[in-house]
């Protein structure tokens, strides 16, 4: 009897090791991140063959700069999706944060780092407000953020009288136009940094783990002593900050804080916001994220948009393709997941 017991407790980590190395490879090849990398390389080849301009220095630079913003937008949605919710007000918050930063610079003459911090604080506040309302009311984030999207945007338009702030610090706008090694935008480096920070958050901190546990099973998390309401609020706050970063990046790139920079109600951001995380394998029901996946997903989306525009496909077709891509991604993921489940690989 004792022998059996020892054998069994020894089973942790030994028995299936040989088999697992083969499975690990299969799992890696079937992972979202790997699939995205393959797609990115594939489309890069296609675009560069069809239109040589795609690989020009400026084109690559512009691609990275645009991708940087889309990646931040994707992250902003990702951190809310992980709670099993969503945040329709990403665009509205991003623009509001950017406008507040612009206001601080132009009307109050604050130095740009302080103004940026102020803008991000605004993002955090609006996000936290979303979180508090959701947690207190117990309603789904869909309906709450739909409402706050309108409210935030409406109030912002009213307060700014729909006018832009163009008196932006040249140092700051220089940052958005700077080229490192002729092709890399500093904005992309900011996105990479944020990606690293988010990875650390979800992998190596108690806070990130508690957020994920809350998203995966709120009741179990609560009964394990996790303050779930606080976690949900934090996630929305983080979403607000990340949306703010995206908004501020746009200001740095265009040299002005413009109320319409994310379209009416900020809805131009919605498609990229969902595409990145969904392509990247973030579970819509919550509890699981892939920071790298979102990064690659958002990058792929940006590349497709840029490439299609270079091929002079009409802008409306680009929207159509992106929509189709979203649908395809979800369906593909469904098949991939059911395959993995059937083979008991996840």
């Amino acid at each position: 009897m004792t022998d059996i017991r020892q054998e069994r407790s020894g089973a942790i980590g030994h028995v299936e090791q040989r088999q697992s190395s083969r499975l690990t490879l299969l799992r890696l090849l079937l992972s979202n991140e790997f699939g995205l990398l393959v797609l990115i390389v594939l489309f890069a080849l296609i675009f560069s063959t069809v239109s040589p301009a795609f690989l020009s220095k400026f084109s690559l630079y512009a691609l990275g700069r645009t991708a940087a913003v889309n990646i931040m937008i994707g992250f902003s949605m990702m951190v809310v999706i992980l709670t099993g919710g969503l945040n329709l007000s990403v665009g509205a918050i991003g623009v509001s944060a950017a406008m507040f930063g612009g206001l601080l610079m132009e009307a109050f003459g604050l130095p740009w780092p302080l103004a940026i911090a102020g803008g991000l604080a605004m993002g955090a506040a609006l996000g936290a407000l979303n979180g508090v309302i959701i947690v207190r009311s117990g309603l789904h984030s869909f309906i709450i953020t739909l409402a706050t999207m309108s409210i935030f945007f409406g109030v912002m338009i009213f307060l700014t009288r729909a006018e832009s702030y163009r008196d932006i610090s040249p140092v700051f706008t220089g940052f958005g136009r700077m080229k490192l090694f002729a092709i890399v935008s500093p904005l992309l480096i900011v996105s990479v940094l944020v990606a690293v920070l988010l990875s650390v958050l979800f992998r190596y901190t108690a806070l990130g783990r508690e957020m994920l546990a809350t998203g995966a099973n709120e009741r179990a998390a609560e009964l394990s002593g996790i303050r779930v309401n606080r976690m949900i609020t934090y996630c929305h706050m983080l979403s607000g900050i990340l949306a703010g970063v995206a908004g501020v990046m746009l200001v740095s790139r265009t040299g002005a804080a413009i109320p319409s920079m994310a379209g009416q109600l900020g809805q131009d951001w919605l498609l990229p916001a969902f595409l990145g995380p969904v392509l990247g394998g973030t579970l819509l029901t919550g509890g699981r994220v892939s920071v790298l996946g979102t990064f690659l997903g958002s990058f792929l989306v940006t590349m497709l948009t840029t490439g299609l525009l270079l091929m002079q496909v009409g802008a409306f077709w680009v929207q159509t393709y992106l929509g189709l891509l979203l649908l395809l991604a979800v369906l593909l993921d469904l098949f991939r997941r059911s395959y993995l489940t059937r083979r008991k690989l996840i």
Partner: protein, 509 residues
Amino acid sequence: MNQTVFHAEGVTKTFPGVTALEDVRLTLSKGSIHALLGENGAGKSTLIKVITGVHRPDSGHLTLNGSAFEPSGPRDAIGHGIGVVHQERNLIPRFSIGENIFLEGLSAHPLKRIDYKKLFSDAREWLDLLGVDADPSMPVDRLSVAKIQLVEIAKALSLNSRILLLDEPTASLTPHETDTLFAILRRLRDDGVSLMFVSHKLEEVQEICDQVTVLRDGRNACESRTLEGLDRQAIVRLMIGRSEQIPDWSARDRSTGDAALQLKDVSTSLGHKQIDLTVHKGEIVGLYGLVGAGRSELAKAIMGKFAMTGGSVLVKGKQVDIRSVADAVGRYRIGYVSEDRKSEGLVLMHSVLENVGMPIWRRLAGFAHLLTNRTVRRHTEPFIRKLEVRTPSLEQHVGNLSGGNQQKVSVAKWLAAEVEILIVDEPSVGIDIKTKAYLHELIRELSDNGTALLLITSDMPEMITLADHIVVMNDYRVMGEIDNTRDYDTMSERIMALIQGEETVAAGV
């Protein structure tokens, strides 16, 4: 009587890394009740899934009424008259009883108007047959668990099932409801239906089954033999390869130690009134009552999930105000092993390591909340090993483990958290005998080491095995309390008397 209806021969089914079934045989006869027994992970569920067409066997063959049977899927199996009542509830809560029973038929014609009058009168017939006293137009979510179970059976029968597989149908039933169910099963048997009955309660198996197949580690330990001449010990030996050890523990008195948890005249927002309860250090206090007596709810109120509206709570002699579960866990070191481990106890989609570490992440985290897996592993692995959790690795998703191992994980979590007060709610629901005995030893050992335990269970033998002192609840009130003499017959009588409210005065609350 001995006419073979269904036969499985040499069934083998492997999954990557696991051989779930190996060369398994099984024969179901017409008009008999067949017990399928085995520990968790022995292959019972896989066998059921093979029979119902969810899994296709790697080798071996099935025959149904003498001809080869290769179900292409669950629907095909249903079409061939094989019905199954799963452990998990599979009804749609807001739909009526009638709609649920005939759901399969309803979905056949998307545009056809549903004739509710006929639907309900047809449903009525099935309900009458099963002796269920309920209006077919009533939504299922307003029924008791027992009636829901019967509605599931009605649904399976309405599909002309001649073979009915029941997966732990009595797990959440009271003794009385179980008796009713058994009367119905016997009648179905006499009508020529072949039933297969999966249960962990051997008393029930001996009471109702004619034949038995025991699986151990995916193989037949015995195959379709009669239950005659097979006593409880013999069955247990077949299941686990050794006989059951009934612990010969002596009664002990722990009420002289320091009080770890005291409730004084507590009332809650859920309706508890005048609850008085004391758990001493090193003591196991049992909280007995029927389902719905408010025991789990009281546990959750103690944990700070629901608000107390009156009275006082003392932890180690000091009055406390527990506002949230985080408070209870972090500050007062109270843990709660939920009865509903799938939705409240565990995060199924996360790993073993993450589940066990959940309550202590915050405590372990260092500067800027930083925390590595290695730290978590160091503080949790000893407990995971101690409990002999069978898992290929700590990264395995808990959802992939068997029920018994899941329960071990949800207990390991609180051991790792080093709680001083542990509330254990129905620790052995859906758990095999060996794990159950093991958990009992563990609970006893915990109390010997000074943990104060509050044990909630509806399993009377379990209660009498473990508790030092028993508090009986009914209808959100304490009916009385008694010291456990560990004499089953007198104790169970006194407990039942307390529930009926006959001994309230004598117990001297």
